[in-house]
Symmetry: C2
Subunit: 192 residues, 2 copies
Amino acid sequence: MAKTLTESRRTRYTRSVLQDTMVELLREKSMPHITVSELCSQADVNRSTFYAHYDGLEDLLHDVEGEAIDHVSAAFDDLLSQSDPTDAETAIRRICAYIADNRSHLQVLMSSRADLDFQRRLMGLLYQHDDEIMQLQPASNDPNENRLRLQFAIHGAIGLIQYWLDTGLEASPEQVAQTIIDMSMPKQHAGL
Amino acid sequence: MAKTLTESRRTRYTRSVLQDTMVELLREKSMPHITVSELCSQADVNRSTFYAHYDGLEDLLHDVEGEAIDHVSAAFDDLLSQSDPTDAETAIRRICAYIADNRSHLQVLMSSRADLDFQRRLMGLLYQHDDEIMQLQPASNDPNENRLRLQFAIHGAIGLIQYWLDTGLEASPEQVAQTIIDMSMPKQHAGL
DNA sequence: TTGCGAAACCGACAATGTGTTGGTTTACTA
DNA sequence: TAGTAAACCAACACATTGTCGGTTTCGCAA
C-alpha cells in the first residue's frame, strides 16, 4: 500500500472491493490488459478513490499479494513450529495440504496472469528456511554446489506447485509432497 | 510475425533494427514499461513502419523469441543427433556449454523483464525430449508420478539456468550440467 | 542504367487511458 | 447531532495507440 489513509470501516470496505475485483479480473485476463478504468467501473468505485488508495495497478496487486504472503508466512511458521524442527518432510506435506485448502487465491496469484512478484516473494520465504531444505540433501563440500542445488529444488518445487494448481489439483497433496521430497534429494555422484 | 511483407534487403534491415532495439530496451526496463513510440524513436524508424511489420510490442518480442528458439532448437537437434541417443547426460552438458556461448541474447530473454513466453516455449522444447529426461529417472509404475517429476525437473532446470544467467555465469557449465543431472534423478522411496 | 513499385517517412486523426485537481455529497464517530 | 474524512463527480492536460492519405526514397529487374 502506498497511500496512507485512516483505517475505518469505509476504507477497509473500499480496499477490499478493489482487491477482490483485481483477483476477479486476473481470472479472466493478464495484468497488462487490465486498466484502472475498467477495474473501477467493475468495482463500482470512483477512479479518484482508487488513486486515493493506490499508486497504480501494480501497487494494488502488490497489496493483494502481500496479504496472501502474510497468510502463507503465518501458516508456514505455524506448521514449522508444530512439527519437529528436524522433520522437514512433515513440514512439506503440511504445506501441500495447506495449498490445497487455500487454492482459490493461490491459483490466481501463482498463475502467469499476475506478476512474477508473488513467486519471487514466495521464493524469498523458502530461502529463509533454506537450512530445512538443505537437510534433505547430502551436504556437499562445495558451498556453490549447494547453492545451485537449492535453486533447482526451489524452482522445481514452485514450478510443480504451479502446475498442480493449473491442472485443478488432480494429484493429491501427498503425491505432490512426496515428489518434492524425492526430487530435492539428488543422486549421489563421485564429484567433478 | 503478424504482417506479411515482401522479403527484401530493406525490410530485413528494418526488422533487424527493431529486434535489436527491443533487446537493448529489455536490458534496461521490463516489457510493460516499453512503448512503441520510444522503441521507434530509439530505433530511428517511423512508427507507421513499425505497425507495417508488427501488430504491437508483444508481437515483436514474440518474433525475437522465435528466432532465438529456432537457434536453440537447431542446436538441440544437432547436439542430440551427435551424441549417443541413450546418453542424455552428454546432451545436457553440451546444452549448458551452448548456453554459456550464447549468453548475450539468452540473458535478456530468460530474465523476468521479458515475457514468460520464452520460458514456456523452451519448456515445450524440453517436453519434446521428455523421454530422454525420463531416462535419468527410475521408471515408476504410476504415470502421474512421472509427470509430476518431469514438471519438477524441467522447472528446476530452467530456474537454475535462469539463476545462472542472472548471476553472470559464475558457475561453470560443467557444474550446472552436473547439478541438473544429479537433481533430475530422485531419491528412491518405498512408494505411497 | 533507368524506371517502376514497394517500403519507409511524414503529419494528422480520433480514441482511450492516465494522473491530478477543486468542489460536492455522503456517512461514520466522537 | 455536528464535524470530518472519505467517496463521488466532472473536467483537465498529457501521453500513447492504431490508423489514415499522401510524399519520398530506395532497390530490384528489365
